[in-house]
């Protein structure tokens, strides 16, 4: 019986090619946009995770501290919760690092005369404390230590980025919801139109003793096929776009620190399944209305 309904659904798709093509394209576009947002979230989360793992806090000391005070500061640093290691970097070492990082600008550095860089401690955090909130908290405690001129953790701007990221996430949820509703509407409308064109056939089937389930099952199959095809087409379009722009984004946005990745096979299957579900639901809502009428 299932194969009969499935065959019927495929025949109906063939008979109403244009209508089905429009529906499948709409679903594909919705899936493309929603999946692109998911892809963005996944890779951005990877990036944030990589940055989080590399959190280190630079503690810059006031000028001309005597060794005794330096040692006292070191002892206080190491005693703070969250600090795994504090490595002293003298102003001389810092200048040498700078020279090594900027070989082409060495002439500028030669001309500055006195070393302007401060002595500093590079603080590594214990793994359990490597969150943006805890890094901020530790930074504030480090700033409060007498003799500390400034504290900086390289990815402090990440906090602002996370705020933006969360905002984008909310926007995407809203967009996803809108596309979900749009897809339901389009699928429902397609079912309604096909039902309208086949109302005589439906009536004949009722007259020969067909149950509502028998009559309507092909519509469910058809809508689920639309959902699956739309889902696959949307993901295929996303994959093509991803392959085209992957290398450019990798170099510009991530700086090569994180390998960009596409959606996992499991997630792709879940998206296609969700797309099929959208098809089913759109059909169900439409048929419910039809049966009430």
């Amino acid at each position: 019986m299932l194969s009969l309904h499935f065959k019927r659904a495929l025949l109906d798709i063939r008979h109403n090619r244009l209508l089905n093509a429009v529906t499948i394209t709409t679903i594909a576009l919705s899936i493309l946009i929603v999946s692109a947002a998911i892809l963005f979230f996944i890779n951005t989360t990877d990036m944030l995770e990589a940055w989080r793992r590399g959190i280190r806090i630079m503690v810059y000391l006031e000028d001309d501290l005597d060794p005794g005070r330096q040692q006292a500061i070191a002892a206080r640093l190491k005693g703070l919760y969250g600090v795994q290691e504090a490595r002293f970097i003298s102003k001389q070492t810092a200048l040498e690092h700078l020279r090594a990082q900027m070989p082409r600008q060495s002439a500028i550095l030669e001309g500055i005369g006195q070393n302007p860089l401060p002595d500093a401690y590079e603080v590594q955090m214990i793994p359990s404390a490597r969150t943006w909130e805890k890094a901020e908290d530790l930074a504030q405690r480090l700033e409060a230590i007498d003799g500390v001129a400034d504290v900086e953790y390289g990815q402090r701007w990440v906090e602002r980025f996370i705020t933006l990221f969360n905002l984008f996430r909310l926007t995407s949820y809203a967009m996803g919801g809108l596309f979900f509703i749009a897809s339901l509407f389009i699928v429902g409308n397609t079912v309604r139109l096909i039902l309208y064109t086949r109302r005589e056939e439906v009536e004949i089937m009722r007259l020969v003793g067909a149950t509502e389930r028998f009559i309507l099952a092909p519509f469910y199959f058809q809508s689920m096929i639309q959902g699956i095809l739309g889902g696959i087409a949307g993901l295929a379009a996303l994959l093509i776009m991803f392959m085209l722009i992957q290398s450019k984004i990798q170099a510009v946005a991530v700086g090569g620190t994180v390998a960009l990745r596409f959606l996992s096979p499991g997630l792709m299957m879940a998206i296609v399944a969700a797309s099929a579900l959208v098809g089913w639901l759109g059909c169900h809502l439409s048929l419910k209305q039809y049966l009430k009428a």
């Binding site: 005589e200 056939e201 009722r206 007259l207």
Partner: protein, 229 residues
């Protein structure tokens, strides 16, 4: 002709009315139709013949009164059980009511598929019935490619393929030439002799004369004395 077996009524109508706005399509109709009977319902256009047939398969519901099919009051039948009632019937319409996008075979097989019969049975039974009505060689044709007579033979095949206890035919020869009409009536008679109750609504006197059967004459929704046929 098979005599009605012990006058057992398979269909009973008690004081049935069917109103359309202010008009009575059926007016206090009481009637028994017997098992294995061949019955003609005749009368002028608008007499209520089609309405009466529709009441039997719940194409419409009686405004008042009771309609019993096989002892079941179908006026009270739940909507989700109507398909079971309709499987007792094989219905032949004047306009054939074939699905134009499905082949002859598919139109006939649909009845068995809808009843949940297995594929092998569907194939065997459909071929057999199409052979009986002489349409086996056209089973892959679509209805619009057939003549009126051929389409009605397919409609008869569809009506009998599910082995219904009752065959209803509403002006089954109304759109056909004399030869095709005779063929269709011959088929209905064949299925009647095989045990089905056959009810034919027609205003065609020639047709009524062609088969010895009980005749009900309807006029303005009431059974009246039939004029000479």
């Amino acid at each position: 002709m098979i005599e009605p077996s012990a006058k057992a009524a398979i269909i009973r109508l008690f004081h049935v009315y069917r109103h359309y706005h202010a008009q009575n399509a059926l007016d206090d109709l009481t009637l028994d139709i017997y098992r294995n009977e061949f019955l003609f319902i005749t009368g002028p256009s608008g007499a209520g013949k089609t309405t009466l047939l529709k009441l039997l398969y719940r194409g419409e519901t009686a405004s008042e009164g009771q309609v019993l099919v096989d002892g079941i009051n179908i006026s009270r039948m739940a909507r989700n059980r109507i398909h079971l009632l309709r499987r007792k019937f094989g219905i032949v319409f004047q306009d054939y009511k074939l699905i134009p996008t499905r082949t002859v075979y598919e139109n006939v097989a649909l009845v068995l598929e809808a009843a949940g019969r297995n594929a092998r049975y569907v194939r065997k039974k459909t071929h057999s019935v199409l052979r009986t009505v002489g349409m086996e060689n056209r089973m892959n044709a679509l209805p619009p490619a057939l003549s009126g007579g051929e389409q009605q033979r397919v409609a008869v095949a569809r009506a009998v393929v599910g082995d219904p206890t009752i065959i209803l035919a509403d002006e089954p020869t109304g759109s056909l030439d004399a030869k095709s009409a005779s063929l269709i009536m011959g088929l209905l008679k064949t299925f009647h002799t095989r045990g089905a109750t056959v009810v034919v609504a027609t205003h065609d006197r020639e047709l009524i004369r062609s088969i010895p059967a009980r005749i009900i004459y309807l006029n303005q929704g009431q059974i009246t004395v039939a004029p000479t046929i």
